[in-house]
């Protein structure tokens, strides 16, 4: 399996998908009256340098089970919309108070707090609307679509990402694992499971995707924290520790790397259960390796 993964050209695969996803997202949010809100939504959803990890994960999982890429695009776009909505709200002054995201002014910095709240409120339902109105009905039975909608709603809701954000704000003493699982694992899990659902994966396969997606999502963030720790000034690190934000900030680099190794092994173990799908599983292995090793910079892909 590691041979498959090294042969697979993730960079080209990902770059191509990003192009298609961006085009779909661009069309999904046309500017109409009142312009301002559409512009605010587009600003965050179409931000330059977005990695599109959730949609790519969704499309790849769908294709693993022989699903058509066209069946997955609307859901893939919806994942990016609800993800953007969560990030816009997380950045608000009353939440994380981040004036910047990915080196650009945050949504509320540009459009004001009121518009940022409304842009988020509009992006959540737009995601669901997009799935309902754009998924080809000949490719996906309605019953599956209902499960996809429920899965996304659960992932962003009060026991998913919203719970993660809440516990991060509250900053309890042992909350970092939970916060990371919810804020980062949830999106990976949901993306992988949605892809499987669209293609008609069975329950056992969905459970595997669930554990795999969660492990990859958390792994990616733990490594992010490690890389950030290496470049941050000591004062910033101190701030992060207080907030209980970073895994590394609390447990140190060595323990974080050990956790990363466990997550990587767990994710790969789940994929070993998909051997019967042959080469199609290669992209999913390569996501694990990318999350752990960062062989290239995704920001350079587009």
């Amino acid at each position: 399996s590691s041979k498959l993964s090294t042969q697979f050209d993730l960079k080209t695969y990902w770059t191509n998908l990003i192009g298609e996803i961006n085009e779909n997202l661009d069309q999904a949010i046309p500017v109409k009256y009142p312009d301002q809100i559409y512009e605010a939504m587009r600003y965050s959803v179409l931000a330059k340098g977005a990695k599109r990890a959730p949609p790519v994960m969704c499309i790849t999982a769908c294709e693993l089970f022989g699903g058509d890429r066209l069946a997955a695009f609307p859901t893939a776009c919806a994942l990016e919309m609800v993800h953007a909505a969560s990030l816009i709200h997380d950045d608000l002054p009353c939440m994380d108070n981040d004036p910047f995201r990915r080196g650009q002014p945050s949504n509320h910095t540009n459009y004001g707090v009121d518009m940022a709240i409304l842009a988020g409120d509009a992006l959540f339902p737009l995601g669901f609307q997009h799935i309902v109105s754009h998924t080809p009905s000949d490719l996906v039975p309605e019953q599956r679509l209902l499960r996809v909608i429920a899965e996304i709603a659960r992932a962003v809701g009060s026991t998913g990402m919203a719970a993660g954000q809440f516990l991060e704000l509250e900053g309890g003493p042992n909350s970092v694992e939970f916060v990371q699982e919810k804020k980062f694992g949830e999106m990976g899990e949901c993306s992988a499971v949605c892809g499987g659902l669209l293609a008609g994966a069975d329950d056992d396969e969905l459970q595997r995707l669930r554990r795999y997606g969660r492990a990859v999502g958390v792994l990616y963030q733990v490594i992010n924290d490690v890389l950030e720790e290496k470049t941050m000034k000591s004062k910033e690190i101190e701030d992060n520790k207080k907030k209980g934000k970073s895994y590394v900030g609390i447990y140190g680099i060595e323990k974080a790397m050990k956790v990363a190794e466990e997550l990587r092994a767990q994710a790969r173990k789940e994929l070993d259960g998909f051997q019967k799908y042959g080469e199609k599983v290669a992209p999913l292995y390569s996501f694990v390796d990318y999350a752990a090793d960062r062989g290239f910079r995704v920001g350079d892909l587009n």
Binding site: V132, A153, S158
Partner: protein, 306 residues
């Protein structure tokens, strides 16, 4: 009606509303249980179970039963619509929006739980409303549930609630010379009518209504949606805060454009009358017995005192 052999007792609106609102309250209480993390769920429940009049969910149930469905088919959707309504109130009340301290006679969500939790509780209600319809709607084909979800989503976003709120915010501080009836109507058709429309249309779809029935009821809902706002504007001018359970005269203080300001109280009342008539016309052709609740709801929205 008098020709019938056994005349049925006249429709009792008050007991109908009490009975339906109780069912809705019970269903909402069951739907959003107190789970971990407790504080978010407390915040969700605080606003959701604050005892509103449940006009939207009752409309949803009544529309479902009008087209031949049974209550349980539309109950998850009725709850979902109330969750969305609650979520929009929580977010609208925030300091960066309307900055309201009082809602339904109680401190607003962010006053009790903080702004951060209020934003999250709203987001969580929004998400959960979709999950609730998708997962718990009984005895309805997936195709109809999907269609209902599409309608609900449309009613919330940039073609619905949010669009109305944006234009409303952009209109603040503009005098009545700069805001015409067309713009005022845009605000209310989106801010208020869109969700009332969704409530009725979801009920009709889930209850098994055909396309013609759904569209008739859509038109009915648009009329009573606008009616709702015209009456709200009139009440804001004519009633006190205590009677309303919220800050009265706020529209005047905030220099918001209202129907009474643009056309005067008398003309506003005439407009309300016209909308009510148009709404009731849409119900002609339905079984009068089954249409009675919706007719009474239109009357209620027109004549309410708070």
């Amino acid at each position: 009606r008098q020709d019938q052999n056994e005349p049925k007792p006249p429709f009792n609106f008050k007991s109908y509303m009490v009975q339906k609102a109780n069912s809705v309250n019970q269903a909402l209480d069951d739907a959003v249980s107190l789970r971990d993390p407790q504080k978010i769920h407390e915040a969700m429940r605080y606003s959701l179970l604050a005892g509103g009049k449940r006009v939207r969910p009752v409309l949803c149930l009544a529309a479902c039963e009008l087209v031949g469905g049974i209550e349980s088919m539309a109950m998850p959707a009725a709850c979902a619509v109330e969750m969305i309504h609650t979520m929009s109130l929580i977010h609208d009340d925030l300091p960066c929006m309307d900055n309201d301290d009082l809602r339904r006679g109680k401190p607003t969500n962010h006053k009790v739980f903080g702004e951060d939790v209020a934003v999250l509780a709203g987001d969580a209600l929004l998400a959960f409303s979709f999950e609730h319809i998708a997962v718990t709607t009984p005895n309805v084909t997936p195709a109809r549930i999907i269609r209902a979800i599409g309608e609900l989503a449309k009613a919330i976003g940039t073609e619905g609630l949010v669009a109305g709120q944006v234009v409303d915010i952009n209109s603040e501080g503009l005098g009545s010379e700069q805001i015409d009836l067309q713009r005022l109507e845009f605000i209310h058709l989106h801010k208020t009518a869109a969700l009332l429309e969704a409530a009725v249309v979801l009920g009709a779809i889930l209850g098994g209504g055909n396309d013609a029935e759904v569209e008739k009821l859509r038109k009915f809902a648009r009329c009573i949606g606008l009616l709702f706002q015209v009456v709200d504007d009139i009440l804001d001018v004519t009633m006190s805060s205590k009677e309303l359970g919220k800050t009265a005269g706020k529209d005047l203080v905030a220099d918001k454009v209202t129907y009474p300001k643009l056309m005067g109280i008398e003309k506003s009342r005439e407009f309300a009358e016209k909308l009510k008539k148009e709404a009731k016309e849409q119900l002609v052709g339905f079984d009068p017995q089954k249409a009675a609740p919706l007719i009474a709801l239109a009357e209620y929205i027109a004549n309410r005192r708070s």
